[in-house]
């Protein structure tokens, strides 16, 4: 197979399963750039991203015969590279994580919530570098299972079904984790909402 041509997905999968020359290079060139950017976003640096993408493609190469086409080839590759990147990140993180149960609102018979008075737009808040860093730091404190869902849904913009496919989870579980992640992040951002984070 000529890597410069663009076969449709079924043709490419068939060629990969046959071990046809050039098919794997086509796969790497078709999806490599997007997967590399994904890994850089997850890991925050190119050195680790290279390792994660390489690990991911090697796994894909080994597992292509067991690919069942329930998801698209792209989603399947994203899932493999995402997991490779998350495994690397997991090994260097955790020390600042907070248990999710400590961050969720307690609603007995009714909710207790102060009236929030936001004096500036969200855009103006994130325009200040130190507040943007504060928000990112709070996202990093979410337990990984929740942070990953928040990141895929609210930051990367994948829908619930795509997120579930990438994580190998059910849509129901993704929805529950997304809500908990958002609720927990809200709790972590309350000092900011109360004006307790230095504004300059």
């Amino acid at each position: 197979m000529n890597p410069a041509s663009a076969p449709d997905e079924a043709q490419l999968i068939a060629a990969l399963r046959r071990g046809e020359g050039g098919a794997f290079e086509t796969l790497v060139r078709q999806h490599g750039d997007a997967l590399y950017r994904l890994a850089v976003r997850v890991l925050g640096n190119e050195a680790e991203a290279r390792d994660a993408v390489q690990d991911g493609f090697i796994s894909a190469y080994k597992e292509i015969k067991s690919f069942e086409a329930r998801a698209s080839l792209k989603t399947w590759l994203y899932r493999i590279v995402l997991n490779a990147a998350l495994m690397r990140r997991r090994s260097r993180q955790r020390k600042n994580e907070v248990a999710i149960d400590e961050l969720l609102p307690q609603i007995d018979e009714f909710r207790h919530e102060p009236d929030w008075n936001f004096t500036e737009s969200a855009e103006d808040t994130v325009a200040r570098g130190h507040l943007r860093q504060h928000i990112r730091a709070q996202i990093e404190r979410l337990p990984e299972a929740y942070r990953t869902v928040l990141w895929l849904r609210d930051i990367e913009g994948y829908d619930t079904r795509e997120t579930a496919e990438m994580l190998g989870d059910s849509e129901g579980s993704v929805k529950v984790r997304l809500h908990r992640a958002r609720a927990a992040l809200k709790t972590l951002l309350e000092p900011l909402y109360k004006g307790e984070v230095a504004s300059s």
């Binding site: 909710r111 919530e113 996202i139």
Partner: protein
């Protein structure tokens, strides 16, 4: 006095047909913010929000949280790198021969 009023509110939410309690409304908030709540549930949720000040305040802060998360990561979503390095392509292909 405030506690009594809250208790009365809770009893109304709990016993008036078609009203959600705060805990029930909480389960809908994520889909509501994403615009994914079916019409009948959305109407129930909005009815609760109109009548419940704490849930209205919570929804306001919850929405802001989602917006701030998205905006704060905008730079991370658009990293300077756009292409996978060619030497990485070669390394992958060499490892998979």
């Amino acid at each position: 006095m405030k506690r009594i009023l809250l208790k009365l509110e809770y009893l109304m939410f709990k016993h008036v047909p078609g009203m959600l309690t705060c805990a029930e409304a909480d389960a809908f908030i994520s889909d509501y913010v994403d615009g994914l709540l079916p019409a009948a549930q959305r109407r129930k949720f909005e009815r609760h929000i109109r009548m419940c000040r704490p849930c209205r305040a919570y929804l306001k802060a919850y929405r802001r949280t989602v917006t701030l998360a998205r905006l704060s990561a905008a730079e991370q979503r658009a990293p300077a790198v756009t292409r996978m390095p060619e030497e990485l392509v070669h390394a992958i292909l060499a490892a998979c021969k």
